[in-house]
Symmetry: C2
Subunit: 333 residues, 2 copies
DNA sequence: CTGTTAGCGCTTTCAC
DNA sequence: GTGAAAGCGCTAACAG
């Protein structure tokens, strides 16, 4: 990589003249600016980013910590973050916590050495279970702003981006009710996570608001149990089930596959609607109804919040709610 | 963030003494070292990474450019890269080319300003179609080593990591032959990509090596056509098909779903084997046979190659071949 | 208009 | 044992 110094030497001018010329400083004569820029282009000169960063004491990079990159929802948020960050002149450094508190902590501390200006993250499952917050407050006290998305920690005072889980679940349930379903169960394979509770409330409220009297039916499957076996048991215990609201991103698809294997006609006899990134849809047949989480939008909003805070530390902390859509479904009554 | 300067002032010693003490320089008295380290810990001092980088003219970060982060294969490679990079003391900056040449080029140029020490990437589909290579050679000439994985460019002289496509396809086809299948078609939805050709050769060779005389049957579906419609047409044109080797990561699953919708019994009447990251498996029922691409291993090997080259530029260029496994399958003759 | 100088935070000779 | 000073590549205040 060629430096300003070498350009200066080659042109027999001073270093600062070159620097100013490259930055279109009006102090420099048009002719010099032209000569400098020409040589710079010729030599493929690029200002050394590290030096500029040191000078500005900013890195123009964002640390992103996601729990699981193989989860299409997080992958899609990452995509949204990456694209928005780039368009705002930021790079992102990606770390994966693997849902563990230890890796989450390690990643935060490693990057909080001037490698990044701030963080965007979704709290790891283990951290949520343990209700640990110390590592977050440490980082914030060190002067690094954090934006949490989707999996947020209520105890931390920082910017947050969430989807309106209550409303999303309410809408999903209402869709099944309006279809005429009368035995709608809620399937829960993520009991430990904060979002689960709101989705349950939305489901309950929708049943409550229904014109017909509908009994709530909550089925929670522990991570230690076999998802497939539990779903099979559910179908055999209660053959009247004609609607499923799956509030995580795997049990909906699992239900669909198992229903098919048991010869339960979907969507004629049974309707399934699941929370998920819509990237999963093409792999089920017929298409599974899905509550899209507008994952890229979450990423975009997260970047906007972080960049705003980087500009002005004194802003009020904000919690942004991202809308969701219910995508079209291949279903008949 | 606290600096060495502040520590020095507080201890009334010089900046260089503090620096040496922190780095366990034997010149410094034990007592001073202890005092310095104590205060550093107390103040939560961390050496400013940007300053260190400038001093060392290295960034200890790797630029990773992947074509599509929603593709589980690439997501998994990314995971492998991230984990291996971290354990070798490197961070990664992730960019997504979205399969376009323009974004690929832009990402390369943006990071080749001292932001990263080198690159790991899979060539974007568009770049492969156009057979463009200029942007790669430019970067390499600028002194940034590149490691290409999976989608590599033959025209570029750099380190590469690939899976043994020929052999993988050969093995997959042989599996179907050994099962007793006699009308095995090869399904190709990625005709433009370099890996496709080797997989076709492997398929052909396996048929050739078979004890029985088996006719090759290549079906190429253009990206502009409807995958679903083309597969339906295939089944109706040729009802004798009893085996499918799908050489991309979607047509296998699509075939499976369509076969089921047409009431073709899988795996009794039809066997399907597909190339894919094994992350897709759980979404099909019964499980689709798959050639796992050992994606995390690819990521790991890529990092090892890049780090080795960063240490020693003069090494011979290497092409590493990563082994593959055929995962167990739910099939009966 | 152009050049000299200081400084971002750190490491590393070289003096004392 | 400790400190002063130079330099990584760049910007910007200040002189000329």
């Amino acid at each position: 990589m060629i430096t300003i110094k070498e350009l200066a030497k080659e042109l027999s001018v001073s270093i600062s003249t070159v620097s100013k010329a490259l930055n279109d400083n009006p102090e420099i004569s048009e002719d010099t600016v032209k000569r400098v820029k020409e040589l710079a282009r010729l030599r493929n000169y690029k200002p050394n980013k590290t030096a500029v960063n040191l000078k500005n004491s900013s890195t123009k990079t964002i640390g992103v910590i996601i729990p699981d990159i193989l989860n299409p929802f997080f992958a899609k948020v990452l995509l949204g973050i990456e694209s928005q960050a780039n368009s705002k002149g930021y790079n992102i450094i990606t770390c994966v916590s693997q849902e563990t508190e230890a890796k989450e902590k390690e990643n935060l501390q490693l990057l909080a050495d001037g490698t990044v200006d701030g963080f965007i993250l979704a709290v790891a499952e283990e951290t949520q279970i343990n209700k640990t917050t110390q590592h977050f407050t440490d980082i914030i006290n060190d002067g690094f702003p954090i934006v949490m998305f989707d999996r947020v920690s209520d105890a931390i005072d920082c910017d947050k981006v969430i989807i309106d889980d209550f409303d999303a679940s309410y809408q999903a349930t209402k869709l099944l009710i309006d279809e005429g379903r009368t035995h709608i169960v809620l399937l829960n394979y993520i009991n430990e996570l904060s979002v689960g509770q709101l989705r349950i409330q939305g489901y309950l409220k929708a049943l409550e608001d229904s014109a017909k009297v509908l009994e709530p039916h909550l089925i929670t499957i522990d991570k230690s149990e076999s998802l497939d076996d539990s779903i099979k048991a559910m179908f055999s215990n209660d053959p009247k089930i004609d609607g499923i609201v799956a509030i995580d991103n795997t049990s909906g698809i699992a239900s669909l596959n198992i229903a098919k294997s048991l010869d339960i006609k979907v969507p004629v006899k049974l309707s399934i609607i699941g929370f998920s990134s819509d990237e999963l849809l093409p792999f089920s047949y017929p298409k599974l109804s899905t509550v899209s989480q507008n994952a890229t939008e979450i990423g975009k909003v997260s970047v906007d919040l972080l960049v705003a805070r980087l500009r002005d530390t004194s802003l009020e902390k904000r919690i942004e709610t991202v809308a969701f859509d219910i995508s079209e479904r291949d279903t008949t009554k």
